[in-house]
Symmetry: C2
Subunit: 225 residues, 2 copies
Amino acid sequence: MGKSIVLLSGGMDSLVTAAIAKEECEELYFLHVNYGQRTEVRELRSFRKIKDIFKPKDVLIADISYLTQIGGSSLTDENIEIKDFQNANEIPNTYVPFRNTHMIAIAVSWAEIIGADKIYIGAVEEDSSGYPDCREKYFKALQKAVNEGTKKETLIELVTPIIHLRKAEIIKLGATFGAPFDLSWSCYRNNDIACGKCDSCVLRVNAFKEAGLKDPIPYEVEQNW
Amino acid sequence: MGKSIVLLSGGMDSLVTAAIAKEECEELYFLHVNYGQRTEVRELRSFRKIKDIFKPKDVLIADISYLTQIGGSSLTDENIEIKDFQNANEIPNTYVPFRNTHMIAIAVSWAEIIGADKIYIGAVEEDSSGYPDCREKYFKALQKAVNEGTKKETLIELVTPIIHLRKAEIIKLGATFGAPFDLSWSCYRNNDIACGKCDSCVLRVNAFKEAGLKDPIPYEVEQNW
């Protein structure tokens, strides 16, 4: 049991991961990271609303907007267009290189100071956009770096409970926990009404349909649930 | 050859590492990270002066002052006293958990965008304060996470050229390159005249003495060079 940190972007994967952590853990700590993405304000709002429901012991909101100085991703560089979903094999331009490592490094530093022994991360491997830092192989390698890069007596486990689930399974699982999907936000483009066309929206909409559930958030394009 | 990123704090280890990189690499990129440490302003000044001499192709100055929100280290929390050097076996309270991972994650993201294939890091393992994220075992583990967490075609090597050198050897090596030690800054406490008593100062002063050289920076306590 003990203290556990949850990485909570405010998207549906991290929401369900938080719900799982709430079942499994004694004391929750929520970490939210602003990285200068287009929907930063909207995601932060989702985080705050979800936090108000889960009532973690403490929260940390960290800013890594230096990622906009690096750019090179359509999420962090306004000059690069976010494309509509394409069922291609290549990694889309929404890829933000090594993003998860930045967030997990913050969680590890925080964990070592407060004495947390678990970090929950809502990464999804197969049923996603193919980002390399969402694969189990990456998390296993990073786990070793965490072990070697912290004090001898520090034991911090990276927990990825939904990494091999399909998106529809994640939604069904979340529904069994009563996860407040209406508070979550996935759209890469918009801050008010989800576009329904970007990678993140299409993966979400299709998953809700496959799960046989209606997504409670508003979409620009009317959906047939 | 190609593009290489150097992590340059402005301390003597990263200065010598930059000098080595300048010998070995074609095109240099310098990364400096402010993390809310007490001597942030002084280190940044050192970085800028060293940068003006080495003339890298580009620089990135990133802010990760969220580490002050986490605190728990005397470098990032003003309420924790920086102690004078003690020849103890335990890790001193200047330890900032997992700090190197934050910095290297920034370098990796930048490297993948600009197409750099080497990241130079001036970590020192034995002759240092015993920080776990300065050990070769840590860098080897992190290297695997970098390989797994970036695109298949991306190859980024973490290079730690001085990791097994003693501090005196680092100074001698830097001297052969004409490294401008007068521009570097190591003191954990002060921004103008080095205290001469903190871990970082004592390691530096002793190393200059062992190398038979005079440290060109000013100290509060007069030194017998």
